[in-house]
């Protein structure tokens, strides 16, 4: 074979091409280094301010000057990045434990299901106090609270996807790595993480796209007496609302647009293009994702060498022959398996009982029967709104999405726009809508409602587009050749085909609408307050008043409503869709 076979790869290449040339940076290095340095410096600047002193009573003043906006945007982006890293660490640990331990799984997975359905902004009201007290006098406390809120909007679906992937690692690959006597640590990095990577990256993108909404929402919080204002795009818009400055809102929208596009181009495109090599299908994909940045980095000489070094370091860590001896043997010898299970379940049950008792003890004395009635009524109102909005959005976007998806050129043009619109934090647009409602004296109960779905309806659109463009061409041709009439074409050919994609989009859209209700059912423009009532408005009002028992009640009811819709509507629909479109 090749004469350099025994040498390490980098050396072999160096010998073949002459070392000296290979070490010389090329022009691409300069561009890439500049990009890299600029990113690092900017991120560092953003991060340094996160540990500045902070006085609760006197939150920092937010300047509405457009020149201040780049710095605010930067800080928002850094928060986002920090939350993403936290979510990644959480995913790699939580999901792994759930997938590896049957007993942990018993608790962790249902818990994840519940965590997922708690409205993100609900976490904020409770955690902000905790984090502020953790770092008194430092802005780090509120920063962490905001990051935690964003984390809660990202972590759960990432963890779910990773858990699913770990459970479905192909048996042959697993057996192969066992027969090569790889330790669990090696198997994790060599097989399981790579196998889960495409799904994880996709879910990270979805998480990010939802995350912008919450990063904006979590920068200006007031829970009762506690006022937290963190410099960022969100607080900039909040200040603009206070001052009724529509131009500033416009600047913020532009800044956010640029930030999202940059994030996509500089972070996610490269990651998606890179993760493509982990796709498990042996057949080559039709469309291979590309990223100009990744191509640039891969063709640089100097940086590529640097990355290779870093890569081989990381590989070294992945190769550590760490072994985890399962701690079970002693207990297995002493007690039969089912008794341990019973003990474990009892412990878990006791824990749950204790938490519920604490909650009742905490909130019980404050709450009356009429509170329950009010919350139930408000919950029903918001529930109705979500259902109607999803139905309306489906009526509008499904036909449009199908029309676009069947035209490849149009799809290539519209799909990125739809994905961008889904990522764009709709709460930045609220003031525009509110100004219109105020000016034309429209009824807030009706006209505030569409705001809930302003940002999340795009999930329906882009999933339907994806579904229609993936619709098998032979099935389309068959329908054309049979000259199926339009009514039947929609009913029996196209709609069943895009149904699974639609359900995926609708689940995301409805989850997003519930979350958005907290900020969209109760809005203000300067001193003017508009409320559409509903559960979201209820939670928002109680948060402003700092009434913790009622915040808890509102959040609990909302979580239960979300869980109920997921269980009773979306999950059965999804199962049905999946079963019907399967051919094998």
């Amino acid at each position: 074979m090749a004469d350099a076979g025994s040498l390490p790869r980098a050396h072999g290449a160096g010998l073949a091409a002459g070392r000296w040339h290979e070490r010389t940076p090329n022009w691409r290095d300069i561009v890439a280094v500049l990009l890299l340095l600029a990113t690092l410096i900017l991120l560092g600047a953003g991060a340094r301010q996160m540990v500045a002193p902070f006085v609760l009573a006197r939150p920092p003043q937010i300047s509405l000057a457009p020149s201040a906006l780049p710095m605010y945007t930067l800080r928002t982006v850094v928060r986002m990045l920090a939350a993403l890293l936290a979510s990644l660490v959480f995913t790699l640990t939580y999901a792994t434990i759930a997938a590896k331990s049957r007993r942990a799984e018993l608790v962790l997975i249902p818990l994840l299901d519940v965590l997922q359905s708690v409205p993100v902004l609900g976490y904020l009201s409770f955690t902000v106090v905790f984090f502020v007290s953790l770092f008194p006098g430092s802005v780090l406390g509120p920063e962490l609270a905001a990051i935690f809120a964003i984390f809660t909007s990202q972590a759960w679906n990432m963890a779910f996807s990773f858990y699913q992937a770990l459970r479905t690692v192909p048996t042959d690959l697993d057996e192969a790595s066992r027969s090569l006597r790889a330790t669990p640590w090696q198997r994790f990095w060599r097989l399981e993480v790579p196998f889960a990577m495409p799904g994880l990256v996709w879910n990270m993108m979805m998480s990010m796209s939802g995350g912008w909404f919450f990063v904006v929402a979590s920068e200006a919080i007031s829970v009762g007496e506690i006022q937290v204002v963190l410099p960022g795009v969100g607080s900039y818009v909040a200040t603009a609302i206070e001052h009724r400055d529509l131009a500033a809102v416009g600047y913020a929208i532009i800044a956010m647009t640029l930030a999202i596009v940059a994030y996509d181009q500089l972070l996610f495109r490269p990651i998606v293009a890179w993760a493509d090599k982990f796709r498990f299908e042996q057949a080559a994909a039709q469309v291979v994702p590309h990223s100009w940045l990744l191509d640039l980095l891969r063709r640089t000489r100097f940086l590529n060498r640097l990355f290779e070094r870093a890569g081989s370091c990381a590989e070294g860590i992945a190769r550590w022959p760490l072994t985890f001896r399962p701690a079970a043997p002693w207990s297995r010898r002493l007690l039969p398996r089912n008794i341990v299970d019973a003990l474990w379940l009892t412990a878990v049950g006791a824990m749950i009982a204790y938490v519920i008792a604490r909650l009742v003890h905490f909130a019980g004395p404050e709450l009356t029967r009429s509170d329950l009635q009010i919350v139930a009524g408000q919950g029903a109102l918001t529930f109705l709104r979500v259902l109607i909005l999803i139905a309306l959005a489906s009526l509008v976007w499904v036909p449009i999405g199908v029309a676009i998806g069947l035209r490849p050129r149009l799809t290539a043009f519209v799909q990125p726009i739809a994905q961008f619109l889904a990522a764009f934090p709709a709460n930045l647009l609220f003031p525009v809508a509110v100004v219109l409602i105020v000016r034309y004296h429209l009824a807030p109960k009706l006209w505030l409602t569409p705001l809930m779905i302003l940002g999340t309806q795009w999930y329906i659109l882009f999933n339907v587009i994806a579904g229609a463009s993936a619709f098998p061409s032979d099935l389309r041709e068959a329908a054309a050749s049979l000259r199926v009439r339009p009514a039947r074409w929609w009913r029996e050919v196209m709609l069943p085909g895009v149904f699974p994609y639609y359900v995926t989009g609708a689940i995301t859209a409805s989850g997003g609408a519930w979350n958005a209700s907290i900020v969209s059912e109760s809005v203000s423009w300067g001193p003017t307050h508009l409320s559409a009532s509903g559960l979201g408005a209820y939670i928002a009002q109680m948060t402003a008043a700092g009434d913790y028992p009622r915040i808890a009640l509102g959040i609990a009811v909302m979580s239960m409503l979300v869980i109920a819709t997921n269980r009773l509507l979306w999950r059965p629909l999804y199962t049905l869709a999946e079963r019907r479109t399967r051919l094998d």
Binding site: M1, A2, D3, A4, G12, A13, A16, A17, H21, K277, D295, R298, R299, P472, D474, L475, E477, A478, A479, A480, S481, L482, R483, V484, R485, R488, E492, V493, P496, G497, R580, T581, R582, L583, D584
Partner: protein, 437 residues
Amino acid sequence: MTGQHMADNSAIPVLELSKVCKSFAKASGDPVPVLADIDVTLREGEILGLLGRSGSGKSTLLRIAGGLVSPTSGAVRYRGDALSGPAPGIAVVFQTFALYPWLTVLQNVELGLDALKLPATEGLAKAVAAIDLIGLDGFQSAYPRELSGGMRQRVGFARALVSDPILLLMDEPFSELDVLTADTLRTDFLDLWVEHQLSTKAVLMVTHNIDEAVLMCDRILVLLSHPGRIAAEIPVPLAHPRDRLDSEFRSIVDDIYAILTARLTESAQTRHALHGGVAQPLPHVSTNRIGGFVETVASPPYLGCAELAELGRKLALEVNELLPVAEALHVLEFADVKDGRVRLTAAGRVYAHSGTDDRKRQFREHLLRFVPLAAHIRRVLDDRESHTAPRARFDFELQDHLSKDDARRTLNTAIGWARYAELFSYDDRARQFTLAR
């Protein structure tokens, strides 16, 4: 004899394609021709076969006949009238079955009646009758996923036949099925056809299986590729049921092999002129298959010279798999391919009896001498200071002469061969060529 189906030939043909051309737009501007000047006349009572390798545009031709694709130029007439879009009386059976997974067998078949706007009861009766005719009774309520491949294609046939079509178009209908199932389905269909149980007046069938074409068709059009054009018309004057071992049957099969291979070497020669041979399309064949093929031909009973038809049966390879290997050997000058037989050259015989390292060396020499593209890439890499070159450079060069897909495939083949020969290497992450070693 098929005479029973032959109405008088003076009647209007069921389908008539004259001077049909089809080209697809290309990113760089010039359209790539897929079909050039095709004339086909399909008369009442006959099964006409379109036989060709992949890339010969035969499926596109069938779609033009079905009104699913419109030709770039030329005329398509169905029973004397110009065809524009899917028309009543034309039905298609798809290679992939094209069944809707969310509809039951009955619903899938009923979809074929939608355009007829029949009353519900009448439609149901017709659908059930078609299901019975095609041997699917009892499966009405099954979903496609519950059926085997053969049963699925029966549904495909029932759906096409339920509307009593005049013209039946079949796009490689048996190629996704295993040999046994395909045989049964073919026989069942021929029985219905010969016994006049179908309203269908004419059948146009696309296939790459020579045996299948000779078994079923009354006439076969052999298509060549780049661009797709008709090379020969072969009548099959045999009575049904036909016997594969019959000497007349065998001689028709051999004729077709001879036509396909004659054109193969001829096209390889003319292609050499293209861009100094650099843009010669390479057959997508792995070096493993080349090695195995050379060994088989070199060993008894062939001892260096074999009939392709015979080899196809022995190796269970269909013509669309067999011909590319033969072409690769021809291009690399390990063998001469002529008149349906493959004869190893002296180099080919040596190659067959060499060990791995010697083989690699010989392959490398032949690659440099006889595959201008490989030599060209190597030269560019040698000339460049960095000894690297982006793939896009050669992609664009090839796309001046080939379609985008052909350019990609040709380059991929060159990469595969060069990797084996250790002539140069390719980094798919950076999409650039590098020197091996």
